[in-house]
């Protein structure tokens, strides 16, 4: 899996209430959810995000509510990968389950600034900051998780008999 895009950077404890405010949870329409993504934290996000962009954040990203609408909104907005120091656990498993690539790499978070051009090669476990020339090593996903992602998410892995 390879991803290339510009970094959009946020701080610590970005919660699911700011990723997708509850007032928009009366729909499951992905496009509509994406149109309000990050609205209560950064109103400019939806106008500046480009397909493939990489979201970079600090500690405990996605804390709070279990709403799957949060990773759905991020994925649908065009973000290809989220790199953070750490993720809240429900957000982490929701992202894997819906097929949004996410990665914990504090070194990369520290070494990537807003707008930097980032390339992530998850097969070989390397993230490149093409703006500064820096390189960061990452850990691969556990095999079980890789199987789910490769199958295309949890629903697909059940259909393919990976989870019985």
């Amino acid at each position: 899996m390879k991803f290339t895009g510009n970094a959009i950077k946020y701080g610590d404890n970005v919660d699911t209430d700011v990723i997708i405010p509850a007032r928009y949870l009366n729909t499951i329409d992905k496009k509509e959810l994406a149109s309000h993504c990050m609205e209560d934290l950064d109103k400019t996000f939806v106008t500046r995000v480009k397909t493939g962009d990489i979201m970079v954040a600090g500690n405990n990203f996605g804390c709070g509510s279990s709403r799957e609408h949060a990773p759905i909104a991020i994925k649908e907005s065009g973000i290809s990968l989220v790199i953070a120091n750490s993720f809240a656990r429900i957000f982490y498993r929701n992202s894997i389950n819906i097929g949004l690539a996410i990665l914990e790499c504090p070194e990369a978070v520290a070494g990537i600034g807003e707008g930097d051009k980032v390339e992530a090669d998850l097969d070989n476990g390397v993230i490149y900051n093409r703006t500064t020339g820096a390189e960061f090593k990452t850990k691969p996903f556990p095999e079980f998780i890789q199987k789910i992602i490769t199958a295309g998410g949890l629903v697909e892995s059940i259909k393919k008999g990976i989870i019985k």
Binding site: D17, N26, E68, I90, N94, K159
Partner: protein, 420 residues
């Protein structure tokens, strides 16, 4: 090396003698829960699976509590989708307006969860049932769909933090103050991916309501689950509410914990979490002159009968301050009815508070008490994130029912002792 309480429950549900922290396991589920916001996404995913029937129509439950009674047309459509699905699947425990309550107050009351169960719910506060000695945790809608189809879920076995409780709470101090104090101490990611296990001789001094409230907020410290050692009080509660047989799991003597804390309940004072994180705790008595516009008493954290009694004790014969809107929301129909029969609703109404049918409404900024820009609320809810209860420029102060009721009277945040 022994197992923690959580690890023992999980081992028993995946057919293993022993599990270790970090291990990935597939466990059998005793209950799969969803609400009117998360279930529609789960139903859409479930329908992609091509599996006709859910794994067990008695072990899937849906509760219409978040935007119900329907706040708008879209919310009505979402509830209808759940209603239709549950009808077609013959789901035994579908709770609609008139029967429903806030899910995490309702399920223990209905006896759907007992000690030793494994429960997943597409709602982050599913961790509440740890108060009964169950492993229960919040998941997303896709996990819910998968759980409904297969009766199983995958987990990474968590390590744990042990909290040994001792002593007894002071008057006007309750479980909410204890858990806010703990979150203030370890932070909103202090228990990330891990279990919070509560034990110690102080347990006997905590009511089931205190424990449910504390387990409810384990997620606010990032925990996978919170779990309480089962004692006589737990077993009495389960026997009173459920016909199912509880299974008691106790941590091994040589269980290994990442961290251990001793909490002296007698030292805990009324605690308030200031905006915009639950970890931002202060003592209520040190709050100075923070004027408030709204008070919410209710939610899955503090909408149980004991919470209603605590609030009524403080509001009795007093008036909500001018300029403050006080909204009391009993969490279930039973709590509502009991509060009515005990005369608590009369106390609330005479004090100038509004009393609502059960709903999660204001807690997540859905309906029934949304804040305008610049407004400030004291709420017995569980999250004070930016914009959680309304406008991004509003503020939420999390507190116990005692603090909330006292603050409603004073029009500013205060320690209940000031008004009693």
């Amino acid at each position: 090396m022994g197992m923690t309480m959580t690890q023992k429950v999980l081992a028993a549900h995946c057919g293993a003698e022993k599990v270790e922290a970090g291990e990935l396991i597939l466990v059998n589920l005793d209950l799969v829960l969803g609400n009117d916001i998360t279930s529609p996404v789960a139903i859409a995913e479930y329908n992609k699976l091509g599996i006709d029937k859910v794994f067990d129509n008695k072990k899937v439950t849906m509760v219409m509590d978040h935007f119900a009674p329907n706040k708008d047309i879209k919310a009505a459509e979402q509830c209808k989708m759940c209603r239709n699905f549950c009808g077609a699947q013959n789901i035994e425990h579908f709770y609609d307006v008139g029967q429903m309550g806030i899910e995490h107050a309702l399920l223990p009351e209905k006896g759907l969860v007992v000690s030793g169960d494994v429960v997943i719910g597409a709602d982050s506060h599913t961790c509440t049932y740890g108060a009964l000695g169950a492993f229960s945790t919040g998941v997303g809608s896709t996990d819910m769909a998968s759980g409904m189809a297969t009766g199983k879920a995958w987990f990474k076995v968590p390590s744990a933090i042990k909290f040994t409780l001792k002593g007894k709470l002071n008057e006007y101090v309750s479980g909410k103050d204890v858990i806010l104090h703990i979150i203030g101490m370890i932070g909103v990611d202090g228990a990330l991916y891990r279990s919070m296990e509560f034990t110690g001789e102080g347990l006997k001094n905590l009511s089931m309501e205190d424990r449910l409230c504390m387990a409810n907020m384990a997620i606010e410290a990032g925990a996978k689950n919170g779990i309480f050692e089962v004692d006589e009080k737990t077993l009495e509660y389960v026997a009173e509410h459920s016909t199912r047989t509880p299974v008691v799991f106790k941590a091994d003597e040589d269980a290994v914990y990442d961290e251990e804390y001793v909490i002296d309940l007698s030292e805990i004072e009324s605690t308030v979490s200031y905006p915009h994180l639950p970890e931002n705790t202060h003592l209520a008595k040190d709050s100075g002159d923070i004027k408030i516009d709204q008070v919410i008493i209710g939610s899955c954290t503090n909408g149980r009968l004991e919470d209603m009694i605590a609030a009524a004790k403080i509001l009795k014969g007093k008036k909500v301050a001018d300029g403050v809107r006080c909204i009391v929301i009993p969490a279930t129909q039973k709590v509502y009815l009991d509060a009515m029969e005990m005369g608590l609703l009369k106390i609330f109404i005479e004090a100038g508070a509004a009393v609502s049918t059960p709903t999660c409404g204001p807690c997540l900024g859905g309906h029934m008490g949304i804040l305008a820009a610049g407004e400030r609320a004291v709420a017995t809810t569980n999250r004070n994130f930016v914009g959680r209860m309304g406008h991004v420029d509003s503020e939420i102060y999390l507190a116990s029912p005692e603090v909330a009721a006292a603050s409603a009277i004073m029009g500013r945040i205060t320690d209940p002792k000031e008004v009693m």
